[in-house]
């Protein structure tokens, strides 16, 4: 009775020890390979779930199964139109073949070094074929696709799949930026000038038209006024003529008298002979 319980106890403990050193789980985010004496066992990596290995002689190496990020350092690149630009890119990659990966690259750090080499040189080559503005705008996608494709080919032998090489930033070195600022300034100044002179032009036109209209209005009024005055003079003349033609000689006589009155009002000197009809009673 004692013996059996003892043995059972020993069995359980040993079993537990063996189980914990033989069983292992691989997380959904991981993949694993089993190493025996420094070499991978089998020809397939292990996916997520519960797995077993031989205790003590085999051990497990885990790798991330997720998409990993490699953020390259910004790098100065010369475009085909001899302009410099700082290109900052990132690469999305994944360990697709852990066995190959383990034998050729071994660690994530090793992979990063490879990625850095290959992506960098591919970018340099691709970007060197385009002008700055092509890189910035309409050829961007094309360049990224080409670099992704080439990097994918070159990194496949390492058990690495490159999913995407993407240009994050394209910045200009300070002095190029300065020259762009200079050009932007000049363009805007030109625009401002144009707006102002357009404004002045329009304003001058409106004012000139207003002045012309004013002159025309006044000239029209003067014309009307002369016509009206003429009408007045004409009517008056007719009235005079109608009345005076009744006795021209009397009009002549009275009008002459009025004229004498008015004409001899100032500074007149009369030299009269006694024969003057006015003096006939002086004799």
């Amino acid at each position: 009775m004692k013996k059996t319980t003892i043995l059972l106890g020993v069995g359980i403990v040993l079993g537990a020890l063996v189980l914990t050193s033989a069983a292992f789980t691989v997380d959904q985010t991981q993949q694993a390979i089993v190493i025996q004496l420094g070499r991978p066992v089998g020809d397939k990596s292990l996916g997520p779930g519960l797995h077993f290995k031989l205790p003590l002689v085999q051990n497990v190496v885990f790798f991330d199964a997720r998409i990993l990020d490699f953020d390259a350092k910004p790098e100065e690149i010369t475009t085909t139109d001899k302009k410099y630009m700082n290109v900052d890119s990132y690469t999305k990659w994944r360990i697709t073949d852990p066995l190959t990966f383990y034998t050729k690259v071994r660690t994530i750090q090793g992979a990063r070094a490879r990625l850095d080499d290959i992506v960098r040189s591919q970018l340099r080559v691709a970007l060197g074929r385009y002008t700055l503005i092509e890189v910035v705008s309409h050829k961007r996608q094309e360049i990224m696709d080409a670099v992704t494709l080439r990097s994918k080919e070159l990194l496949q032998p390492y058990g690495i799949e490159v999913l995407d090489v993407r240009i994050k930033r394209t910045d200009l070195p300070a002095e190029n930026a300065r020259s762009i600022y200079g050009r932007m300034k000049a363009e805007r100044e030109r625009q401002a000038k144009q707006y102002r002179s357009e404004g002045l032009e329009a304003s001058a036109k409106i004012k000139a038209t207003a002045d012309k209209d004013r002159a025309v209005i006044l000239a029209d009024a003067e014309k009307q006024a002369e016509i009206i005055r003429g009408e007045g003079d004409g009517q008056a003349t007719k009235v005079y003529a109608d009345a005076l033609s009744r006795s021209p000689e009397f009009y002549e006589f009275t009008r002459s008298l009025d004229a004498y009155k008015r004409g001899f009002e100032k500074n007149s000197r009369f030299i009269m002979t006694p024969e003057s009809p006015f003096l006939k009673h002086l004799k």
Binding site: K2, P48, I67, L172, R183, R196, S203, A210, I217, E231
Partner: protein, 356 residues
């Protein structure tokens, strides 16, 4: 069982003595422990088992989903409410919040602002190396924007990409720069914002889907877009030049609106003066004519005497003027006198009245 195992060890060891005192102490302690535990262990074990079983209960909140892994492998998705999983080490559960909208800032960092509060100028700090971008017409523009996103697929979000948030940040930056790089600076600064936001969102979503991140871009919102500080004055001047232009035109139109009515008023004035002249002239003529006709009527009744009377009255009026010099000479004297014109007294010219 264990204690038997210990006993056995003790018996097997069966050392006669010469043990270090520490071992003795240990031994005594151990015995005590044994005596203490012995009555209880049958009770404790089921409790431990029960607790272990109970540890499999978990609650999934309404804004979460449960993702259950069995031995590390994805097994199932559970929905809101109380759930059960086989306890550790068989199954484990993750509960990411899937309805929560998160936001990430590009080109600026908010300073002490809760996420719910709307964007405010001045409550943020520009990050120039993030915000300055090249446009397709080789200009530089500063773009500050936010991206709102949420988890659309918890499984992908948890297991596919090693850092989904970082991936989203990269994709956002790359997408916005690509879109801005394809457009003109004026689009970004003025009317094209809506279009840029939509394009960036779509491009970001395509990028994120190509990595199966399980993230969904809800919105891209441009917050503050302005020309770089080095050239902002020139841009402001363009705006003020545009203002100037319309001001010049408005001023000219004001002048026009001022001048023309005045001119029309002046014209009316001129015409009225002429009308007044006409009316005056005509009425004067009519008056004069009436007067003449009245006198003529009387004159015709007694021609000679009226003539004489009018003549005398006129002469009287003329000659009674104190200013007029009068001189009466005989015809002979007049003939003998030398006509002399004193030039120094030119204003007082003699006007010999023609004798009738």
């Amino acid at each position: 069982m264990n204690w038997d195992w210990e006993k056995l060890q003790k018996q097997q060891q069966g050392r006669p003595g010469g043990k270090p005192p520490s071992f003795d102490d240990f031994q005594q302690q151990f015995d005590k422990l044994k005596k203490f535990k012995l009555p209880g262990w049958k009770l404790v074990l089921p409790i431990i088992v029960l607790l272990w079983i109970a540890s499999g209960f978990y609650i999934v909140e309404p804004d979460e989903v449960g993702v259950v892994k069995q031995f590390g492998q994805y097994n199932r998705i559970t929905t809101a409410g109380p759930n059960y999983h086989i306890p550790y080490p068989v199954e484990s559960v993750l509960t990411p919040k899937v309805t929560q909208i998160r936001r990430v800032e590009f080109g600026f960092r908010s300073v002490g602002r809760p996420l719910t509060q709307a964007f405010q100028q001045g409550a943020s700090r520009e990050v120039k190396e993030e915000s300055l971008m090249l446009t397709g017409d080789e200009n530089i523009v500063s773009v500050q924007f936010i991206v709102q996103y949420m988890i659309k697929d918890a499984k992908n979000y948890l297991f596919n990409v090693n850092d989904p948030e970082q991936t989203l940040a990269h994709a956002g930056e790359a997408a916005m720069r690509e879109v801005i790089g394809n457009g003109r600076i004026d689009d970004a600064l003025t009317t094209g914002k809506q279009e840029i936001q939509v394009q960036t969102r779509d491009l970001m979503q395509r990028i994120l889907d190509s990595y199966n991140t399980g993230l969904s871009v809800v919105a891209v919102q441009m917050q503050n877009v302005h020309p770089p500080d080095e050239v902002i004055e020139a841009f402001k001047d363009v705006a003020s030049a545009r203002e100037d232009k319309s001001r010049f035109i408005n001023e000219a139109e004001a002048y026009q609106r001022d001048v023309l009515p005045k001119a029309r008023g002046e014209a009316a004035h001129i015409i009225n003066i002429a009308r007044a002249y006409k009316e005056t002239k005509v009425r004067k003529a009519e008056g004069d004519a009436a007067r003449f006709l009245s006198v003529l009527t009387e004159y015709n009744k007694a021609k000679d005497i009226t003539r004489e009377r009018l003549y005398l009255e006129t002469m009287e009026e003329i000659l009674s003027n104190p200013d007029a010099e009068k001189l009466i000479m005989s015809r002979d004297a007049l003939r003998q006198s030398v006509p002399y014109l004193p030039l120094d007294k030119l204003p007082r010219q003699p006007e010999p009245k023609p004798a009738q």
